[in-house]
């Protein structure tokens, strides 16, 4: 017997969680003496009211889609990949090497090669924790967290000592050549008389992210490998019974997860910065966890949740810019959304399940 209809699980619960987070955020804004309604207006117009706002919202959302998908794929194998941050950093290194050290005739070929490079580096960075989990039983949460630190330190070393152009002051690579610059939305959608997405970083990678959502959906729900990943995630003893190797699935799921996290670098390194800078990921790897939780590990849910978090990021930046609400409070609001949609899921779910049960009983 299902406890409640599917739409309630997929739509109603996240919605109620969001509303609760919004109410609490409003109280916090009230408490510091600002007007929450004005704040919401500012966030909405700032993030969604213009192509400029959308440009940033979708740029952030693209990052979160990749890291959200990365976490979601691992979730299906009941692996908690907290290492999206480090994997995305290494993905950036892959992108930078592809773009800097190989001369490309056209951005489109460079894009394909950069995708391969970022996925390879991201997957490689996930491979070590995956191997340790599968063969040695080292908990993936611990190892991937540690690998985030190692990735940051490693990248620091590489940027300062190896990739920094001679004489440059900041720890970053040289700018990528003109030929590998990706088309932005501005260049793709603007006409001579109407310039849209002006100056925003959103670029063609957004469509790769949407494609990735679709590919992950097909992988998880339509292929044999996806079947094995889901089976293993639901019951490990059952997987052994069915002849599905836990070692193999753990490693494969983490490789896919790492590759997806690595792909994020296409957006922020190749599409936006056009060079590799220190801390290019800006915490997107961690936001991916919230995105996957809120999206119920379903690619479509991840897509929606990524856009929501993109809105929160861009709206929050506007809020900090135009009001005296400090930047830290934006983080509080984001944290509240994560708290309610991720951690406090059962708080909404259980009363709702009871409600549906009693409704059904009444109908009988």
């Amino acid at each position: 017997m299902e406890k409640m209809p599917k739409w309630a699980d997929v739509v109603l619960i996240p919605l109620i969680s969001l509303i609760l987070a919004a109410i609490l955020s409003a109280l916090v804004i009230l408490a510091i003496g600002e007007n929450p309604i004005e704040a919401v207006k500012l966030m909405v117009t700032g993030a969604l009211g213009s192509t400029y706002g959308w440009g940033y919202t979708l740029y952030y959302a693209t990052n979160f889609m990749f890291t959200g998908l990365a976490v979601a794929v691992a979730f299906h194998a009941r692996l908690f990949n907290i290492g999206g941050e480090g994997q995305a950093m290494l993905g950036g290194l892959g992108v930078a090497m592809v773009c800097l050290y190989i001369p490309w005739p056209h951005w489109s070929i460079a894009l394909l090669a950069a995708c391969a490079g970022s996925m390879l580096f991201g997957a490689a960075w996930a491979a070590i924790p995956a191997y340790l989990q599968a063969k040695r039983g080292s908990h993936i949460v611990i190892t991937t967290i540690m690998f985030n630190f190692i990735a940051a330190a490693f990248l620091n070393y590489v940027l300062v000592n190896l990739m920094r152009p001679p004489g440059a002051q900041d720890p970053s690579s040289a700018s990528f050549p003109e030929a590998v610059h990706l088309p932005t939305f501005q260049s793709m959608f603007s006409t001579a008389e109407n310039v849209v997405f002006k100056g925003t970083p959103v670029n063609i990678t957004f469509f790769i992210a949407v494609l990735a959502c679709f590919v992950v959906w097909a992988l998880i729900w339509r292929t044999r490998l996806g079947y094995e990943i889901r089976s293993y995630g639901k019951t490990e003893t059952g997987a052994v019974y069915a002849g599905i190797s836990p070692v193999r699935i753990t490693i494969i799921a983490m490789l896919i997860s790492g590759a997806l996290a690595g792909l994020m670098a296409i957006n922020n390194v190749m599409g936006e910065a056009e060079r590799l800078v220190l801390n290019a990921t800006e915490g997107a790897g961690f936001i991916g966890i919230a995105v996957a939780l809120m999206g119920r590990s379903h690619p479509f849910g991840v897509f929606l949740a990524a856009i929501l978090f993109g809105f929160l990021y861009q709206g929050g930046a506007e809020l900090a810019f135009w009001t005296s609400i400090p930047r830290e409070l934006i983080v509080v609001i984001q944290a509240l959304v994560i708290l309610f949609t991720g951690a406090l899921d059962n708080m909404v779910r259980m009363p709702l399940e009871k409600l549906f049960l009693s409704l059904r009983k009444g109908a009988q």
């Binding site: 299902e2 292929t223 089976s231 019974y241 002849g243």
Partner: protein, 509 residues
């Protein structure tokens, strides 16, 4: 007429839309053994949980010794003189018997006075009821039968006058079960009132004074045991006439299909669970492995099913099977025409959150018939599921339901359908009817016998001796990793098997 020790009046309890107990009334006279029998999910355990204060009834009253009593929690139940012995014991493994008995009933902050007082009282109890256990042994040092005695002593120590036992013989050998009922007899003679919940008809017939039958949350009858028969009780439980005996013609064993020689199996902790056994299963016969749970049967099945490495030799139709490393997993076994109905369908045989149609592919998901290019051919899979659902009478016949939405019996039918329909050379069957209702048991047994009659080899592991007897053409008894002996069902009886199961060697087999 004397005042009943326990009287339930119109107890009802619903969990959401499920009416677990509906208007149940019983009355149990003091100094009697009352049996409650019913299929899984009939509501027996819910009723007892209400009596012990785990659940609160929606409606109804509980009267104890003529007084209306509220039982909001287990403390209140204990205060009212009710003691409960659960199916899964609630003992602390690394505490001594004495410590377990005192646990939760300490007199104060200091343990020593409680323990010495308990030791004295325990001695008195032991003598009064002839319930001997060594108070200083740790729980993990004593056998299951002894652990159950500790549970009974715990209840008596808390001055229980009414003792409820939930499926008390599930983990016992036949001789341990006999001992248990001797103890219960003794307690009855001392004036205690005992309620035994079970699904085993024989125990009810041999040991109780009165019996109540539950079906789908309702009490369908309460009768004097002397006035009824197993057939009548089975009919009351299921709601229709049931065949208690499996109808089968004598086996026509052919050539050996499975030949096991000197097989040893070690568990993950390095303990030897199967100790160099030899066993042969021929085409067209069912070999039943009897034994108390935990004597190596599960590990034997797991090695055969490719779930665990082993050492020694296993040959299938003369060809050796890989016992470790590549080629020894469940996929390889299936490719070699070994099908496996695992012991624990909820943790192994099914993915409980998967739809029925996804579960029909479980283990066979690499079958080319289920593929189309790089994708799985879900339409073909669903069509196949519809066929199996119809053939095996799975209810409700809905391929889109998740496995957990089916009853135990229908879940097992899905597993059995998946495995038998592969037409394997060797079928491994572990506890095929555990937690399965009588109607489905009959059906599943028939399917297994039908496969045998097609000349297939079947290895059955079950802790239910009745099942072993009614299905097997040959019985092997396992104890402590050894095969204690092989017997033909018509040449042995429960008593002899019981001795073998307890490790008392018979003549060389």
């Amino acid at each position: 007429m004397t005042v009943p020790a326990i009287e339930l009046k119109g107890i009802s309890k619903a969990f959401g839309p499920v009416q677990a107990n509906k208007d149940i009334s019983i009355s149990v006279a003091p100094g009697t053994i009352h049996g409650i029998i019913g299929e899984n999910g009939a509501g027996k355990s819910t009723l007892m949980s209400i009596l012990y204060g785990f659940y609160k009834a929606d409606k109804g009253e509980i009267w104890i010794n003529g007084n209306k009593t509220d039982i909001p929690d287990s403390q209140a139940a204990i205060a009212a003189g009710i003691g409960m012995v659960f199916q899964h014991f609630k003992l602390v493994e690394n505490f001594t018997v004495l410590e377990n008995i005192v646990l939760g009933a300490e007199d104060g902050g200091l343990l020593a006075p409680s323990l010495s007082k308990a030791r004295k009282e325990l001695k008195a109890l032991e003598e009064e009821y002839e319930l001997f256990v060594d108070p200083d042994k740790r729980i993990d040092e004593i056998g299951v039968g002894m652990q159950q005695r500790v549970e009974i002593l715990k209840a008596l120590y808390r001055k229980a006058e009414i003792l409820i036992l939930d499926e008390p013989t599930g983990v016992l050998t036949p001789s341990e079960a006999d001992q248990l009922f001797r103890i219960l007899d003794r307690l009855r003679a001392e004036g205690k009132t005992i309620i035994v919940i079970t699904h085993k008809l024989r125990e009810i017939m041999e040991n109780t004074d009165t019996v109540s039958v539950m079906r789908r949350g309702q009490m369908t009858a309460t009768v004097k045991t002397a006035d009824t028969s197993p057939e009548e009780l089975a009919e009351l439980m299921v709601g229709r006439k049931v065949l208690l005996q499996v109808d089968k013609v004598p086996a026509q064993p052919g050539k050996p299909v499975l030949k096991i020689e000197k097989l040893s199996v070690f568990d993950s902790a390095g303990v030897e669970r199967v100790k160099g056994i030899d066993l042969t299963v021929r085409a067209g016969e069912i070999v039943g492995i009897a034994g108390v749970a935990g004597n190596g049967q599960s590990e034997l099945l797991e090695v055969l099913g490719g779930m665990r490495p082993g050492q020694g030799s296993i040959k299938l139709n003369g060809a050796p099977l890989a016992l470790s490393g590549p080629g020894s997993d469940g996929q390889a076994r299936r490719a070699q025409h070994i099908a496996h109905v695992p012991e624990d369908r909820q943790r192994e045989g099914l993915v409980m959150d998967f739809h029925a149609w996804e579960n029909v592919a479980f283990g066979y998901h690499r079958d080319p018939a289920y593929q189309s290019g790089i994708f799985m051919n879900n339409a073909a899979l669903r069509a196949d599921t519809e066929r199996k659902i119809e053939k095996f009478d799975v209810r409700p016949p809905d391929a889109w339901l998740t496995a957990k939405s089916f009853s135990g019996g229908n879940q097992q039918k899905i597993v059995v359908a998946r495995e038998i329909e592969r037409n394997p050379d060797l079928l491994l069957v572990g506890q095929p009817t555990r937690g399965v209702d009588i109607g489905a048991i009959e059906f599943i047994h028939k399917q297994i016998v039908a496969l045998r009659d097609q000349g297939k080899a079947i290895l059955l592991v079950s802790v239910e001796l009745e099942e072993i007897f009614s299905l097997s053409d040959r019985i092997a008894v396992m104890f402590d990793g050894h095969v204690m002996g092989e017997r033909l069902p018509h040449e042995t009886d429960e008593k002899e098997l019981g001795l073998l199961m307890a490790g008392v060697a018979g003549e060389a087999a």
